[in-house]
Symmetry: C2
Subunit: 237 residues, 2 copies
């Protein structure tokens, strides 16, 4: 199966035209032919079956039909992580997209004050597109930042009551039940939270959780947390 | 806190000598001084507190004392994964070490027949050492391969009855309960299992599990599976 991401504006039309990189990738490199079925997604959680109607020299046409499975988790989870080197941010965005995260937001903390670097967000956006097509999802995660610490309340205003932060000083796992439409998971810098930041979080009713005694790198902690919140685990594990 | 890995043979002595790369890293770059406390581990799951007794021009001496926390999961999990490009194998080994895996074994399957490349295992071994010291674990994962498909039974002979394989054709999650001393998790190639391989696994009582409708890259699937088996998840999540 092949999943193709198109603009939301053309997703509602009876036929879409495929050009540029997508054309070259699908119709030159992968040699998709007239009559083949594709899964076409709009990046916002919708998917339709498509059929290749015509392949020309620089573009192809795909007729859009019935809705296809969205392959999106029922629970919408936003990740908030400290700014980090682009290589690690890129790996994190790829894996988080595969797992079905709704957004990855980079945040400055006292112990992780760095910038993301020019062009980083657009590079991370391309990483997310490739990962979404590869894993057959349909909703592209929002990738934003770097945000200041003070922007945290606004960023998570719609996350509802399910707001967790990873904290090695928390007493136990303490996830509680995962219910409702969605939530937010905030990962701290590897040097740990600044005491003022921890106080802010507790005062704003963020729930501290703890993934064990080891010090995980921030991208490892973020993916482990997302896995536990989004994928089916063992009974009593 | 600093964790230092030493040879198991010297771990039992009252004092260890630190030389070479470890010496340069700790006593030159990080400027650790006489009197500071280190956590010294043997790579086999044991840890002791150590105190820096002397720092010379090319070596240092650390006096070993009481046992320290091992930070090892109670459940011993071995990962078996198809051979893959070194960059991805390297990420996988780093993250799996942080999560507390007991071994990473690379396997040839019908749809992933490649070699690992000369020098790969020793590079992966160095990645695991760095990750172990960084996350403050104490047991270095075994890294082996590439193994033939026929070696699978021998490789997992000691894993006991807990043997899972990831399979997109499985009906549901189906982890069952995670009990006993340990187990093995086998990840398939991204192209899926060859029907003969699936039959071999079912005939040998491997349990098929399924992580959702998306197609995860093999290293993502391996880390997600290890997370679900080793870390505390939400109640009823």
């Amino acid at each position: 199966m092949i999943t193709l991401l198109v603009e939301a504006a053309v997703f509602v039309l009876p036929e879409v035209k495929v050009e540029g990189d997508s054309y070259r990738h699908l119709f030159r490199a992968r040699r998709v032919e007239v009559g083949e079925t594709l899964r076409v997604v709009d990046g916002r959680g919708r998917a339709r079956w498509g059929k290749v109607a015509r392949v020309d020299r620089t573009s192809a046409s795909v007729t859009l039909g019935e809705p296809a499975p969205s392959h999106e988790p029922a629970f919408r989870l936003d990740l908030l992580v400290p700014t980090c080197r682009l290589e690690r941010a890129s790996w994190l965005v790829e894996k988080a997209t595969e797992l079905g995260i709704s957004g990855v937001h980079f945040l400055n903390t006292v112990r992780a004050p760095r910038e993301l670097g020019e062009g980083s967000l657009s590079r991370l956006h391309r990483v997310a597109i490739a990962a979404l097509e590869q894993c057959h999802g349909s909703r592209l995660p929002e990738i934003t930042g770097p945000h200041s610490w003070r922007a945290l309340a606004n960023l998570t205003a719609t996350a509802g009551p399910r707001r967790w932060f990873l904290d090695t000083e928390a007493a136990g796992a303490g996830w509680g039940e995962v219910q409702g439409e969605g939530g937010a998971l905030l990962v701290g810098p590897e040097g740990g939270w600044d005491p003022g930041e921890r106080n802010d979080l507790l005062a704003a009713s963020w729930r501290p959780v703890h993934l064990g005694e080891r010090v995980l790198r921030l991208e490892t902690a973020a993916l482990a947390g997302a896995t536990l919140l989004l994928l089916p685990g063992p009974a009593g594990g």
